[in-house]
Each structure stands twice: as structure tokens, then as C-alpha cells.
């Protein structure tokens, strides 16, 4: 398969061309070869985009992804990079998940609020005894 233009690649991955250019600008995509004033992506480029997409969908920030590509000595194999980086990410996600569970608990209490007016409700929250719950999560 010959190198493809940016619009084709973008469509393939469900991205906008502007996103690909942005990735290049911030250095997570190496500069695409430009011929005839236009970018063309070969297999290596497509592979990298695939990695970016997968990592994004697992919650990686673009900074995380840059680290994956450029934060290790060349000799470090992909497998170890993934292992190290995914471990950190797991911890972060676990944390996020915990906060979400806290919010859900709080929400279920809030849904059972019996106050007439919001002011009263606020007063009860301040006394930490309102139906919406007395534990501030965080």
C-alpha cells in the first residue's frame, strides 16, 4: 500500500486532519513526508497513529503518549514501556473510579432529599445533617 494523504488517513481512524497535524506539531507523530506540498503517511505512520488511538481510548493523555514514545532509552522494549506506563495509569483509573463511586453514593443520598426550599437544604448541609448526605466526598 502506497503512502496515503491526510484526509484518507483521518477518515480511516475517525480523526480530523487537523488532529493529525496537531499531533505532529506537539511531537507525538513524527513529521510526515511531504511531497508535492502534501503530507503522506506510510505504514510506520499509520502504526503510530493506531497506537495513539488505542492509548487515548485507554485514558492516556497526549503527554503520556509522548512519554511512551520518547521517554525511554531506545533499548527499552515496547513490552516494558507498556507495562510501566499502564501500571501508573491503572492506579490513576482506580482513583478516578473510587471518586466516581463516592459521587454515586452522594447522589443517591441527594436524590432522597426532602427539603422544601434550597435554603433550608443548604442550612442542613452546613449542619452536616441534610438528607443529601453528610459526607463530602473527595
Amino acid at each position: 500500500m502506497s503512502p496515503q494523504p491526510i484526509s484518507t488517513v483521518a477518515r480511516q481512524f475517525g480523526l480530523r486532519a487537523s488532529a493529525l497535524r496537531y499531533y505532529e506539531r506537539i511531537g507525538i507523530l513524527s513529521r510526515a513526508s511531504i511531497s508535492g506540498g502534501k503530507r503522506h503517511y506510510d505504514a510506520a505512520g499509520l502504526n503510530r497513529i493506531a497506537i495513539i488511538q488505542l492509548a487515548r481510548s485507554a485514558g492516556f493523555s497526549l503527554a503520556d503518549i509522548r512519554e511512551l514514545f520518547t521517554g525511554y532509552a531506545q533499548s527499552v522494549p515496547a513490552s516494558r514501556r507498556w507495562r510501566e506506563i499502564t501500571e501508573r495509569k491503572q492506579a490513576q483509573l482506580e482513583d478516578t473510579a473510587r471518586r466516581i463511586r463516592g459521587m454515586q453514593l452522594l447522589l443517591s443520598k441527594m436524590g432522597r432529599c426532602g427539603c422544601d426550599g434550597l435554603d433550608l437544604c443548604g442550612a442542613r448541609i452546613r449542619k452536616a445533617a441534610c438528607a443529601p448526605g453528610r459526607t463530602l466526598v473527595r
Copy 2:
């Protein structure tokens, strides 16, 4: 308790004074009475801030909170407002939680990647057969 100055209130709630002024500006806090060129918060003001804090900790955006305060006819009691709004939020949180679980699953697959080079790994992702997992979560 007499009306308190902004710095005291901010400290009480663990906010910055600038945040309180911001809330006022975007209309989720009613304009504080100003005497001697300075804001002073009475019980009603404090109650409202307490509600805002609780709602924030349950994942409400400031727009959600504005709706809670001003998106209903005056006659609608607090209890019903909470019920309606928390139901929507529960659904959103459930959705977020699902996506997080998807990410965790994906991450655990990624951690077991055995690829040597990232390019190879990307190629496998493209063929949807790489260790990091073949299901793109969303």
C-alpha cells in the same frame, strides 16, 4: 452570626476568594451585599455556597448548579429539583463508570503486550490482534 467577609468565607469552605467572586459573576451566587466597598456573606449566602460545594463534589458542573437554582419555577420544591437533576447525573456517572471499566480492561491487556518495538505493536493493533487488546473501547 454577623455577615462575614469574603476571605473568612473562602477559608471556611476551602475555596479561594476569587472563586466566590467568579460564582457571583456567572450567576450561581446572588450578589453579595457590599458595605464599605466590601462583600459580606450572611447565612443565606453561606447556605448557597454549601449547596454549590456539595453539588460540585457529586460531579455537577457549574451549569448544572445554575439549573438547580434558576431552571425551575419557584414553586418547584428543592426535593423534586434534586430528584430530577440527580437522576440525570446518575446516568452520566454510570456512563463514565462504564467507560472507566472499559479502559481498565483495555489497560490490563496492554500491560501484557509482548512486542519488541512499538512499530510492531502498532502494526498488530492495526491488524486488531496485538496483545494490548483488540477491542477499541469508547
